[in-house]
Structures are given as structure tokens and as C-alpha cells.
């Protein structure tokens, strides 16, 4: 099941610069997308999300962009900080009213922010 892909397993960025993490999906029925941050031996922590009716959502240093025609989304972190170093997972869902809707995760991108 490769419905959600993160093609870059790792990314290294200098502190203060922009980090751009990418995610591609194949199922055009997905209507909600999320980014999670994960440290080793901890649960995924929700960062930011976007509905398919939007193409951009911003929350502080984090911005998510959605390009539905390309089935692509990206997470921008600016400025990057050392504390941002973690694995970032993209996830997608198809929201069904009246039933619980699962998340389909990508394989993750390990971000390292260097001094």
C-alpha cells in the first residue's frame, strides 16, 4: 500500500533556514491531510493539517501547501530550529461522517537541523 509517499528519507537544514518536506499521494479521494512530528519511542504529535478545499494553511512557523492536481503537499518550516529535528510523517484520510476514518501514513522524513 503506497498511497502516501515521502520520497526523501532524510533532510539536513541549517538553523534559521527553511525546511521543505514533501509528500505525494495517489488516492484522489483523500480529503484531509495532516503532518505529524515524531521523536523516537514517542507517539506522533500533530503539527498542522489542511482540508482539500484549501491550498494553504499556516500556523506560526509551519505552513502546509496542497496541490490537488499534482496530488502533492509540502510542509514548510521557517525559520528551522534545532528542536525541529525529528521524523516528520505525512498522513491522509477520507473523512466519512458517522464512521471512524483511518489515517494512511507516509514513510517519514528525518529532518536534522544543524547549528
Amino acid at each position: 500500500d503506497q498511497q502516501v509517499k515521502q520520497n526523501s528519507p532524510s533532510l539536513s537544514v541549517q538553523e534559521g533556514r527553511i525546511s521543505i518536506l514533501n509528500c505525494d499521494y495517489t488516492n484522489s479521494m483523500f480529503d484531509y491531510f495532516l503532518w505529524y512530528k515524531k521523536y523516537p519511542a514517542e507517539g506522533p504529535t500533530f503539527l498542522i493539517s489542511i482540508s482539500s478545499i484549501k491550498d494553504k494553511n499556516e500556523d506560526g512557523r509551519f505552513t502546509v501547501f496542497l496541490n490537488k492536481s499534482a496530488k502533492h503537499l509540502s510542509l514548510h518550516i521557517v525559520p528551522s530550529q534545532p528542536g525541529d529535528s525529528a521524523v516528520y510523517f505525512c498522513a491522509a484520510s477520507l473523512i466519512n461522517t458517522g464512521t471512524a476514518s483511518k489515517l494512511t501514513f507516509g514513510t517519514g522524513t528525518r529532518l536534522q537541523v544543524t547549528l
Partner: protein, 113 residues
């Protein structure tokens, strides 16, 4: 800030033994989920639960697995007869009425020997 909690944090068991993983979802949430992550792999969906019944289950969630919400606060995952390949981190998640954002617990690391 409300959070999802899970117990135990670690469990070691022998192959063939039963294990029960426990979760307390965020109190006003309505939708509940179990996921797992085998070391080095992506987070995989196991099962979702709403209105006291399973909404969806993955191929992984075979007859050895079951879920229960016994008392309105806990949400449990039972593995009846564990296999070596069940070794993984198991995450519980819950979401509210709009069910858009799922919030995850810290996970239970299960090791089957």
C-alpha cells in the same frame, strides 16, 4: 491540555501468550483507533472504532486481535496468541466529533520472544 494515555509503556511476552494493551482516549472524543509501527517502518492502521463497534479493520487485524471499550473511558487492544512478528510499537489515537485530527498516545512497545 488533554492527552491520550497508554499503559504499559513496555511489555515483553512469550510467543503464544495473550497481551492486553490499554488506552485512555481524550475524554470527549468519539472515534478511537489503534495503529502500529514495526521498527524502521511506517505507521500502519490496525482498527477504528465508533459507537461501540468496529468501523474498519486492516488485513493485519485478524482473528487474533480484538478491541473493546469496556467502561466508557478505556479502549483496549487484545492479542490472543502473540507471534514474533507482532513485536512493534502500538499507538492508540482518538478524535473528536469532527474527527479530522487524530491525537496519538505515547505508545506501548511490545516485544514478543
Amino acid at each position: 491540555e488533554p492527552e491520550v494515555t497508554q499503559t504499559p509503556s513496555h511489555q515483553v511476552t512469550q510467543m503464544g501468550q495473550e497481551v492486553i494493551l490499554r488506552c485512555v482516549p481524550i475524554s470527549n472524543h468519539l472515534y478511537f483507533y489503534w495503529y502500529r509501527q514495526i521498527l524502521g517502518q511506517k505507521v500502519e492502521f490496525l482498527v477504528s472504532f465508533y459507537n461501540n463497534e468496529i468501523s474498519e479493520k486492516s488485513e493485519i487485524f485478524d482473528d487474533q486481535f480484538s478491541v473493546e471499550r469496556p467502561d466508557g473511558s478505556n479502549f483496549t487492544l487484545k492479542i490472543r496468541s502473540t507471534k514474533l512478528e507482532d513485536s512493534a510499537m502500538y499507538f492508540c489515537a482518538s478524535s473528536g466529533r469532527m474527527q479530522e485530527t487524530q491525537y496519538f498516545g505515547p505508545g506501548t512497545r511490545l516485544l514478543v520472544l
